[in-house]
Subunit: 324 residues, 2 copies
């Protein structure tokens, strides 16, 4: 049973990262207007959020810049247009996907960049490249985190091996990522115990990035808080791929550190997020995401179902249950 | 840490109660057409649901039958029109609110009724009347449960006293009710420990009825399962007052007893629930419910906000924070 005193008090070591542009960008191809991004930046400062993730360092050889908004690529100059010299307590993050980022060229030294944190995202089979990216970013002066994706369908032995390799790397934070929204809190507790075991051994912080397929993104995030996980991803109104993420307004309402304030988040959602929805941008819990979560599958079939405007849930269920 | 073996296996003692008509009726004044209710009844049988709650035994002296659908009153004949002799494993429940039900007159002996379970709903200060209603229903041959509402704003000493009184009564099941959607899973765990302590002492089953103000209705329900709570309320697509309830499709996906089947639930939602939404019936998580949940307030202000079609969340937050 978790300490009620820890629920009433708070841990200074907790960091909240706003992933709205990065994970939310996956549902609008990163076409946010500058007013949205600037207002989000200002709101994060007011709300006491610790890190704001702007988007991906996508490789322009792989992704056509005409087909995506600029936050798919996160040029330093574009970030600087929003944050200036960023003389604030809010730190700036970008995500660099293994295999989709020309990191040696596109990530400039931190001394020349507004970015503070490089978030390396990897699948288990790509860990050696992830380690090279971590080393590259560290050498350039950045804080570095590493997200190991899709662990709910991985062997525990493989996850242990990956954590051991990352433990020996220069990474600062290792993230638990429930890519499929498949984990229940009781399972998350076990995953957190595994990650914090390696975190303590190698002096790494542990983070959590949850998805809301089963309406458990927030529940799993606060479960993780109780289990000693310090870095917490959230997005405004849970905006993110498929079923979305842990909602920032829920998370800041839960955290007791007085530096976190929920009211600016509410104001931002009222002004900016509902407009996105009215424009037809779609995310959030729906039956198709529940189904892929339940079956511990990647949500790509559910995302297609959503994009096609389908509502024949029962037929979809038959399709994905039949898949081998 | 909860036993993973208990997550993989299942407890025979778990009962699932469908409260769609009763709690969902609070958002459409119980105007469900017979096709909806009959189809729900048939779906509950196919899904392995244990109890189906039809609605309230509302006092027709207090509530105008012209202003509500028939499930506000649940006449035995109306239930019989749907279930016939109900020669199935699905049991029938109705709710009787303390102070809003003419129970001595309106609840007929079980031998004359299609109903199996009377669910007495009470606030802490009404416990003596609740005990009289329990006695009355038991005398008439029913199974009886008792929901103590709004406990998140109650003194633990008062809850203990109520549990002791109910322990001495003839009630079969005592329900934890998070009326305001204010409890976090860690708090729910403590509440469950308190209720199961009395449940073991007096040989009563314990149930959980959760609300989704903070997207925790399902998370709190499965937390309760892990804590030894056996009776679980859910509604299709989480239909219910304000932010809604624990979603049946999530709960049956989680429970491992092979008698529970999620596919019929998905079919029902596709055919019937989306139609309700298209007709303008509104429920589910939204910022106004998060706020009343966070502040541990009754959601009635948030319900008014919703009914008025307001979207000025920030103004609403100021209003309810300012209230004494």
């Amino acid at each position: 049973m978790k300490e009620i005193s820890k629920l009433m008090s708070y841990r200074e070591s907790i960091k909240v990262l706003d992933a709205t542009i990065r994970d939310g960008g996956l549902v609008n191809d990163f076409f946010f207007d500058d007013d949205f991004v600037r207002s989000l930046y200002e709101t994060n400062i007011k709300s006491g959020v610790d890190y704001m993730e702007f988007g991906y360092k996508g490789d322009k050889e792989m992704f056509d810049p005409d087909k995506f908004g600029k936050w798919k690529f996160c040029d330093d100059d574009d970030i600087r247009d929003i944050v200036g010299d960023n003389n604030t307590d809010l730190k700036i993050a970008v995500m660099a996907d293994v295999g989709r980022c020309n990191y040696k060229q596109d990530i400039r030294p931190r001394s020349e960049s507004p970015v503070d944190l490089i978030r390396v995202a990897t699948y288990l089979n790509q860990i050696p490249t992830a380690v090279d990216m971590i080393h590259d970013a560290k050498n350039k002066g950045y804080e570095v985190s590493c997200n190991i994706m899709a662990i709910s369908s991985a062997q525990e032995g493989d996850v242990r091996a990956a954590l051991d390799i990352l433990g020996h790397s220069e990474v600062d934070v290792i993230y638990i990522v429930d890519s499929f929204g498949a984990l229940y809190p009781e399972q998350l507790q076990r995953v957190a115990a595994l990650y914090t075991e390696f975190g303590e051994k190698y002096n790494k912080k542990i983070g959590i990035h949850a998805h809301n397929n089963q309406q458990l993104a927030f529940a799993n995030t606060i479960e993780a808080v109780g289990d000693g996980v310090d870095w917490l991803d959230a997005t405004y109104a849970a905006m993110g791929r498929g079923a979305g993420n842990c909602a920032m307004e829920l998370l800041l309402g839960f955290l007791k550190n007085p530096k976190y304030k929920v009211f600016p988040v509410i104001k931002f959602i009222e002004k900016h997020i509902n407009k996105l929805r009215e424009q037809g941008v779609v995310w959030g819990y729906d039956l198709q995401y529940l189904m892929t979560g339940l079956l511990n599958q990647h949500p790509r079939t559910a995302i297609s179902f959503t994009k096609e405007g389908r509502k024949d849930y029962a037929e979809f269920y038959k399709e994905i249950v039949a898949m081998d």
